[in-house]
């Protein structure tokens, strides 16, 4: 390595370190604030807690309904993602494996992408009116139905690109051996597609868990409110409870951070709608 190259290298890693620092410091500040006592939050700017306390988390559960919020999120996300995985994978299989006529394939994929790009605010007013008519406002079922539908677009998109990558010879070999198409799908294709399916499931969980505006508009009490809505209920009071709010932020972010670490490899593909592989 010439001195000049070495200097270049140092510059690259320095830039990278700064970027990572800027990306992560705000998380650190939130976590630290959530572990401080109220006195310490207000007393001085300290980059680590003077005395670690989990009191803020305890208060979140006791005073701010975070038990029910968490439960609602788990139920809604699990059910919605399960339904959309089934619907979406079947459709993706049709798109990846069959010759479709009348431009159906292209139309389906355009539709899927367009739905994916629609901002939530556009859908929320009419959805509110519909759910009100059906008596599904402020219910988990209402949220499940809507999230299942919305997330189907993502599953179709991701799964058809994963399924395309599985060589169909394998599947046809199984069918020559006497499997029906459905058995071949279950016995051969799905196991091969499992990594893609898992990645898709995790992205779906992240996107559904993170949604705010739909849950905000369609729920109004801890009977059905999800975590992000719960987080927002800590704001807008006359006096903000900073400690619990920071703790709520940590609770909101933690599952996503864990999932992000699990799916590292396929992460980028999911986040960029397949614009980047």
């Amino acid at each position: 390595m010439t001195p000049r190259e070495r200097l270049g290298s140092v510059f690259v890693y320095f830039t990278l370190a700064v970027a990572i620092g800027l990306a992560l410091f705000p998380f650190w500040w939130m976590t630290v604030t959530s572990l401080k006592r109220p006195v310490d939050i207000f007393s001085s700017v300290a980059l680590w807690p003077q005395q670690i306390t989990f009191d803020n988390y305890y208060r979140l559960m006791r005073d701010y309904h975070f038990g029910p919020f968490l439960m609602n999120s788990v139920v809604v996300v699990t059910a919605a993602v399960a339904v959309s995985l089934v619907l979406g994978t079947l459709a993706a299989y049709a798109l990846a494996r069959f010759r479709l006529r009348f431009g159906v394939r292209r139309m389906a994929l355009y539709a899927v992408l367009l739905v994916r790009m629609l901002p939530g605010i556009l859908l929320v007013v009419p959805l509110y009116i519909v759910l009100a008519q059906w008596g599904l406002l402020n219910t988990r079922l209402g949220l499940i139905l809507i999230y299942a539908g919305l997330n189907t677009s993502f599953v179709v998109w991701m799964m058809q690109s994963f399924l395309e990558e599985i060589p169909r010879d394998i599947e046809e070999a199984a069918m020559v051996d006497g499997d029906s198409r459905l058995t071949a799908l279950r016995r051969v294709v799905l196991p091969l597609a499992a990594p893609g399916l898992i990645a898709t499931a995790i992205f779906s969980v992240i996107a559904t868990y993170n949604d705010f505006i739909i849950a905000l508009a369609l729920t109004s009490t801890p009977v059905a409110q999800t975590i992000p809505v719960g987080v927002s209920t800590l704001i807008g009071k006359i006096e903000i409870q900073w400690g619990p709010m920071a703790a709520a932020g940590v609770v909101g972010a933690l599952p996503i951070v864990i999932f992000a670490l699990i799916v590292q490899r396929n992460f980028v593909r999911g986040l960029t709608l397949g614009a980047v592989k």
């Binding site: 990278l16 049709a94 010759r99 790009m117 539908g149 909101g252 972010a253 996503i256 397949g274």
Partner: protein
């Protein structure tokens, strides 16, 4: 570039199965589900935009009244202007920073997964949590931004309390959250560029800057466009972070169109007026989306 490949299909290379009605039946449930949560709400919203609502009750057909009302509403136009300003400033900075970071990092680094996750963490967590995080940083009494400015002898800005600084504060949040997206897209674009033109230019003795402007940038243009358009579409609906940070205030300084439409519907119960705004917005958005699909298709043809 998977996106476009998928749309174009690979009929030429891959023999697809012919199998009667089966695939259509497999597609149908998904398509119905999609229609139920997108087409239907949009059409119903279109209908609502032509009706008058009072106290959340449908008072019947009102023709274009709602559209005329928003057309004459200065607050609506202000919200549109604020949204446009927000998007143009934020997306420009994000693209520039993303490009810079990608260029610096592209050659030297084989990304370890952990570094990558660290860099893109801001865009993965819930936007509401992003709002909370920055609320904690900006807060004048417990945050870190004010002490930092004070230490530098720049006074205490109390970012979210003043119109201009609140707007800038929100741009900073958006840049923090979304630069990673542009970075990722551009980095992937850079890494898939053909190497030959660069070698040739280097052999010819071109300087790094010349290579960048004559080779890298033109080759990268399609990818840049895809990134910018995707991010722009997404930014049009920006709501969560602002709801948590400023609720559109102080005054209407940070009232983006999504916030105004939401308040119109759920604070003032004027569903019709709100939908008139959103249907108008959708018209512009559809143009962008068509552009996006077109670009994604083209850029992948180029990359392949």
């Amino acid at each position: 570039m998977v996106a476009a490949k998928a749309i174009e299909g690979r009929e030429s290379r891959v023999q697809r199965l012919r199998s009667g009605a089966v695939p259509y039946f497999l597609l149908l449930p998904a398509m119905l589900a999609l229609a139920a949560v997108s087409l239907y709400p949009i059409f119903d919203g279109g209908r609502a935009s032509l009706h008058k609502y009072r106290y959340a009750l449908d008072k019947g057909y009102a023709g274009t009244e709602n559209y005329i009302s928003i057309y004459n509403d200065p607050v609506f136009w202000q919200a549109i202007a604020t949204t446009a300003r927000f998007i143009i400033i934020s997306v420009s900075i994000e693209t520039l920073l993303g490009l810079l970071l990608a260029l610096i990092v592209a050659r030297e680094l084989r990304f370890s997964g952990l570094i990558r996750v660290a860099l893109i963490l801001p865009m993965t967590i819930a936007p509401v949590v992003v709002g909370v995080i920055w609320r904690l940083l900006y807060a004048s009494n417990i945050g870190i931004v004010d002490p930092l400015f004070q230490a530098l002898g720049l006074g205490t800005p109390d970012v979210l309390a003043h119109p201009t600084s609140a707007f800038i504060g929100l741009v900073v949040v958006d840049v923090w959250e979304w630069t990673p997206l542009l970075f990722l897209i551009i980095l992937a674009g850079l890494q898939s560029l053909p190497q030959d033109p660069f070698e040739a230019a280097r052999v010819d003795g071109a300087s790094a800057l010349q290579i960048f402007f004559h080779h890298t940038l033109p080759l990268l243009r399609p990818v840049l466009l895809v990134g910018v358009v995707l991010r722009t579409i997404d930014a049009v609906g920006t709501f969560d972070q602002i709801f948590v940070l400023t609720k559109g205030g102080p005054g209407t300084a940070t009232q983006l169109i999504a916030i105004y439409a939401y308040n119109t519907a759920f604070l003032f119960n004027q569903y019709g007026r709100s939908m008139a705004m959103l249907i108008s917005l959708l018209a512009c958005l559809l143009l962008l989306m068509v552009a996006a699909l077109h670009l994604m298709r083209r850029s992948s043809e180029l990359v392949e």
